[in-house]
Symmetry: C2
Subunit: 277 residues, 2 copies
């Protein structure tokens, strides 16, 4: 496994990689959700590259960039075990030199839900992913469905800007109680962690109501809200039932509608989603 | 010479091209200025691709998109003669499908001079060039120095977003009286055409004053303005003496400062520039 820290080194190495190249961009502090992406990339491509980069431009000024969990030594050991060929772990200065000032903006989609809650977030995501795609030049890139809107934004960017690669969506990996795996779960104390299982319970409730014939979004949202509010530590930021392509809110729920939510437990903000159908 | 109209066709062809690939993006209605770019690309690369695409997103709502001169048959004959390998001439719908909504924004640089006069212009330029780079995947792309700010914006985008190609700047080609070649020169009537020579005269005056020891930008701008105003059909939009990298206006002129101007003759807007030194 090669560890690459600069763009110039990656450029030198890139022509030697056997195509197709599978790529998993991460912010590190890897968990099973990331490793499933790596395994999928490993199964589908002769070359697998993983990046570890906590991207400052996707964090708001009051968000958790400085405190985001980091453990590169553990990450490298896990990636080695999965048979990763290359790990790209640049410094912030390597990716954002002092006069950096070019941005990729994905309109509309990026302004809803997470984008409304976190202004500038998807500009940072789209920009760093565009940069990583240009550095790594992968044939396939793997993203988790847990960050459903991120996946949509990246698919849209890739299509609109004619980036020559395939975006592969991988199902969310969950803890035994249903909590979606996330590096941020480590922020939760024992009480919060226990109550956080309600996110998936609420998503399952939406699915169950929909399967039972309920098509009125408001009615479903109301029951989800009531369920989550039974957990005293849960503070709902949004619950949404939206068109899976446009993220426009729906009145009548239709097949593959995206049910998504953001809920705070103390200072920890968790997101999750399911597609009903 | 292959003529390609769709992105899918280009993708199919691309792996068959011998590297390095030289690329000249144009809006067609080719003149000697374009052909010099093509010849340079031809001399430096085994494969040469030229695009012809009048990019709607770089024109303002009151600008000349609808009237921009077009003559694809003549363009193709000229490109054939220069030994072009591939001409990419997509439709507007191919490049901008109905729900298109991802943009490349180059901050700061893109807000000055032409960007201030033409809001959104460089967003359109950067976006279409990023798309064309992703489609053509050139090793080198050739741009004329006549559009000095465009060149800066594209170099900045390429560097900031880690696009893996070289941007080659090619000196401006001029008519015998010094007027920079431009597809828009065809808009000029005989009287305007004659007076338009004053743009280059004013740029030469700046160079002459600078070489003679004048370093005060205001003094140089004043004499340039007076010279241009001697032509009754000339309507000055801006004259600028700016840092060649940042485009910040200079008080004291320094080596390689960019002297640039935009002047209207009737409805026709002409731009030109020189680097003093």
């Amino acid at each position: 496994m090669k560890i690459i820290k600069t763009i110039a080194e990656f450029r030198k190495l890139r022509p030697k990689l056997t195509a197709p190249v599978g790529f998993v961009p991460t912010m590190g502090y890897l968990h099973e959700g990331h490793l499933v992406l790596v395994r999928r990339a490993r199964a589908e491509n002769p070359s697998v590259a993983v990046s570890i980069f906590v991207n400052p431009t996707q964090f708001g000024p009051k968000e958790d960039f400085a405190h985001y969990p980091r453990d590169p030594q553990r990450d490298l050991a896990l990636l080695e075990k999965e048979g990763t060929d290359i790990v790209f772990m640049p410094s912030a200065e390597e990716i954002y030199p002092p006069d950096f000032n070019s941005w990729v903006e994905v309109g509309k989609l990026a302004g809803k839900l997470e984008g409304a809650a976190r202004p500038g977030h998807f500009r940072g995501v789209a920009t760093v992913v565009a940069k990583l795609f240009n550095i790594v030049q992968p044939d396939r890139a793997y993203f988790g469905q847990k960050d459903a809107q991120q996946l949509l934004v990246i698919k849209k960017m890739t299509a609109d800007l004619d980036m020559n690669l395939e975006i592969v969506a991988v199902p969310t990996v969950r803890e035994p109680d249903g909590l979606a795996m996330s590096s941020r779960n480590t922020y939760l104390n024992a009480g919060e962690r226990k109550q956080a299982a309600v996110l998936y319970q609420a998503l399952n409730l939406a699915q169950k109501l929909y399967s039972g014939g309920e098509k009125d979004a408001k009615a479903i949202l109301k029951q989800m809200t009531a369920l989550i509010q039974q957990q005293p530590l849960a503070d709902i930021e949004y619950i949404s039932i939206a068109d899976a392509d446009t993220l426009d809110e729906l009145d009548r729920v239709k097949p593959s509608a995206l049910v998504s939510l953001a809920v705070r437990f103390g200072n920890t903000r968790l997101i999750d989603n399911v597609a009903v159908g």
